[in-house]
Point group: C2
Chain length 421, copies 2
């Protein structure tokens, strides 16, 4: 089954917002075995919406549309939808009642503007919006089913999960697709590609696709297998991963099975700590809270994370975390000495099993002749060992913050694994 | 001038990565007066790439393509490009030398895989990649210019900024477009729309478009004016903003002129502090570092931000920031008392002019009968005043972290402004 996704919104075309809806919808569709062949974004104009719907219908049997269903005048999807299906827009009293109830619960009076969301194409199947006011609409033309949903991400997600995805699964016989991603750290894409070239060549005849997905400091290798029998293709793909493991074992961080929980280096490290009931504290200067936020974004973070300090000024490195003031004048705060003191002191103050510290020059300011933008010292410690390492990243502040954070997480991972062996 | 953007990549279609390239490219094109009419994503397959190129050519005079130029075998854009223009792929010795030099600088030996990036369509104009190995290719068919660039974001951006955008500006007479965005906080989209309905109606006849861009807790209103004379449309649009200001003054956080620096609540607050040479410290529990990272992501953050503590466990709220331990058993850590102590103590410890503290239940765990997921206390303080406020957000951990952070920034903004009046 082939699907296409149409996003409607001038704000995407002028680049004011990133289209996160389509990435999520594509994930969910792939997961249930629907192939997404095309994703597009068009303007809030009736003619272009209708033309995109018409073109998508020639290529796909399912067309998912988001956006343009708001109560305000710049939203024209309801009108375009009605015209595309040669029907009229009429006030739907059931939907009007839903909308009134929604506002009544919030103690807000229903306005004329809000009523506009109840004026819907006659003949369309209406799907109630469980978390908002704009309902979804569903209608078929020839072989293609069109579903129009609101563009507000959590409203769209709610409608997809509760109605659209179950309905697609129920009404179609879908082929099996199995994706698994191998997370690697510390090896460049081209080097990786050389090492695994022969293995990669052998995949084609097995109907397995491989994709390289580089991220700052990391490369994800995604393997996708297609076939009729879910169990068979999964086992075939797992065998290939055993082979891959033989080639690049030391670079593999972990695995991600598509559709299951997303895997990240911080989750892998958190799980290693959780298994041993161990804890972590952080002293982060140049990453300014970002490194901590990676850990605390994970549900249940408080089991392993006791806290952190962002000692952004030199003075606070001394005052809050006891770094020797004499360092400031001698080796400076971007130094082995400084990160080692930060890591040791935060470990003690927060009474944790492990600690991380980082200090660097994220840029664009702050560089000196000896210390360029992108220079970072990272240290990880437990009560027996302190490991510090110097890094030279690039010129971009945000990339430096991200790369420093992932380098720190990987350095900690190595120390944890060393202690478990 | 109409442009279209084609992204090539299976990883986007299966939803493994978000397409951030097209949002950036759309921004840059709009800025110079090029209208982006259509954005699409297609698979790494020669036939679909050629068909997308052909269709785009019927609608636009400029087609920008990204992705599929990597050295590995899953990248087929070079081949599709050559076939579309009925030309052959040949080894380009100039490009090969660039690639060799690139690797030589990094002390890496050129591999056979890497050489593949120098095999290019004969007759295409080649644009050197200043920060990577895959060059861009440019070729014209009838009225349409096609430019294919690598999908790695910073490589694409570098080629766009150094070559593509200057060339488009030089070779075309472009109409004037002016966008300005009004940032509002603390008012719902539908209420906003009621208040400004009459003003909004009057925009159409002035050739000004209005779009509502809701974000967690915030609504951005984007006004776009089109015309022949840049100065004229800008002044017309500024006049409309004066009118809008009369209607919703108390909700306006600030303004963003499209193409200039992106405006955010944290930048507005940082600038308020910078103007008065004042400083900030933060004690953040449930936001876990995210709130600090919003401030430290801004270049020059160290001028106003002295540091923060993430006292994630109760014990650390006491030990590091001196919260009275008796609170834990009585009112608990998600309380007015706790955030007021945190804010007062972090202000003192970090010796800053202002402080923020937050404590709440981000979820999914941690709720009790009296304290549901989404309950958050926020406090802002200076040496004369302490303001604390209770909030009830939703069920989603990540949204709660984001909404808490922006609510805290807005509460601080109010306190700063109050002190400046």
């Amino acid at each position: 089954m082939k699907a296409e996704i149409i996003s409607i919104g001038d704000e995407i075309l002028i680049g004011q917002i990133t289209n996160t809806n389509s990435v999520w919808m594509a994930q969910q569709l792939n997961l249930i075995g629907v192939t997404v062949a095309h994703i597009c974004t068009v303007a809030d104009q009736e003619e272009v919406i209708k033309s995109a719907m018409s073109l998508a219908g020639t290529r796909a049997s399912l067309v998912l549309i988001t956006g343009g269903l708001g109560p305000t005048k710049d939203d024209v999807t309801r009108k375009a939808f009605a015209e595309f299906f040669n029907t009229t827009l009429e006030l739907n009293h059931v939907v009007l009642k839903d909308i009134s109830d929604y506002y009544a619960k919030k103690d807000v009076l229903l306005s004329e503007t809000n009523k506009r969301q109840a004026i819907l194409p006659l003949g369309a199947e209406i799907i109630k919006n469980p978390v908002g006011t704009a309902p979804a609409m569903m209608m078929r033309k020839e072989q293609t089913l069109y579903i129009s949903m609101p563009g507000v991400p959590y409203e769209m997600k709610s409608i997809m999960q509760e109605h659209v995805l179950p309905a697609i699964k129920k009404n179609n016989t879908l082929p099996a697709i199995f994706h698994k991603t191998v997370l690697t750290y510390g090896i460049a894409e081209s080097t990786l590609s050389e090492i695994i070239a022969e293995w990669e060549d052998s995949l084609a005849q097995k109907n397995i696709k491989l994709a390289y997905l580089p991220q700052p400091g990391m490369v994800r290798l995604r393997l996708s297998a297609y076939g009729a029998m879910a169990a068979e293709i999964q086992s075939q793909l797992e065998q290939e991963i055993v082979q891959l493991n033989k080639l690049i074992k030391e670079y593999i961080l972990g695995y991600e099975t598509f559709g299951e929980e997303e895997q990240t280096p911080q989750k892998i490290v958190s799980n290693l700590l959780r298994e041993k009931k161990q804890t972590l504290s952080i002293a982060e200067s140049c990453t300014g809270g970002y490194l901590s936020s990676l850990f605390t974004a994970i549900p249940g973070a408080s089991e392993i994370f006791k806290g952190s300090v962002v000692p952004y000024s030199n003075q606070m490195k001394h005052k809050i975390l006891g770094v020797d003031e004499s360092l400031f004048e001698t080796v400076g705060v971007v130094s082995k000495e400084c990160v080692e003191q930060l890591a040791a002191n935060v470990l003690k103050r927060f009474e944790t099993d492990y600690s991380i510290s980082v200090s660097g020059i994220a840029g664009p300011g702050g560089a000196t002749d000896e210390k360029p933008v992108g220079l970072v010292w990272i240290c990880v410690a437990n009560k027996n060992k302190v490991v510090s390492k110097k890094y030279l990243f690039g010129d971009d502040r945000q990339r430096n913050i991200i790369r420093t954070s992932f380098a720190a997480i990987d350095l900690l991972r190595q120390l944890i694994l060393e202690n478990q062996n």
